[in-house]
Assembly symmetry: C2
């Protein structure tokens, strides 16, 4: 039997947790008629609007092609609008999109919070956040340098 390192076990736990919590989020958000990925993008738009597609792709850590497809879906649903200006398209929420976020944001936040609160103390959460930030900032750098 092959031997694993502590690091690889951490990777596995993280991948499993992320995948599973995504399933739970999707199930939870079904009542609002949106998916976890859509919530994520709508949330980024609501924070940074108006924002260009390429900037939004960076914020959502998704490729330009990916954000293009996602926005097509969200536009069809009437949650966002794209305003062409020169070669750039500026993205913002429609009234319907604002309402949807108004409706869903707090519930989704409470949902995520309750899952974490159930098994970690405040102190543990702080520690986890610090460690995750270190890790994620590091991979972010690697991603950027690999795209040069």
């Amino acid at each position: 039997m092959r031997k694993n390192t502590l690091s690889s076990l951490i990777w596995l736990r993280m991948a499993r947790f992320t995948h599973q919590s995504n399933l739970l989020s999707n199930e939870f958000l079904k009542q609002f008629g949106i998916t976890a990925a859509q919530f994520d993008v709508l949330n980024q738009v609501s924070i940074y609007q108006p924002i260009t597609q390429s900037q939004l792709a960076v914020k959502a850590t998704v490729s330009e092609g990916g954000i293009s497809r996602m926005l097509t879906r969200l536009e069809q649903e009437g949650y966002i609008q794209r305003k062409q200006d020169w070669k750039t398209k500026w993205i913002s929420l429609t009234a319907k999109g604002e309402n949807k976020m108004e409706e869903a944001f707090e519930h989704q936040l409470a949902f995520q919070t309750s899952i974490v609160n159930e098994c970690l103390t405040k102190e543990e959460q702080k520690t986890l956040y610090t460690l995750m930030t270190k890790l994620q900032k590091n991979t972010e750098l690697k991603i950027k340098s690999s795209r040069t």
Copy 2:
């Protein structure tokens, strides 16, 4: 501006890290001609073989439909074989699959390990693993109970 909780920030960091490290893994594994998802499944098969598809779906935290497609791809590539026995199909690695894992396993492990080692001390890694395990075990339970 909407206020986030510590928990939701943890979720976001985790989602971003997982996504980005998946991109890096895919890039790294390109030299072996497999993807990170394929590596994951091949690894589970190598540990538990012979294993049925539904058991494998649980190990890889993927739906039955998902594992069916994935195995079709891996079978086409010649990495695994399915032996029909009654209504069950038993999955195991072919010689080619064994060789591929022999070739890729240690490198992938070293790759994952180096990324974590770069930014966290051994002590921090232990802490992170403990916290992640608590979290993941909890969502695992929730997933199971939601499927009843």
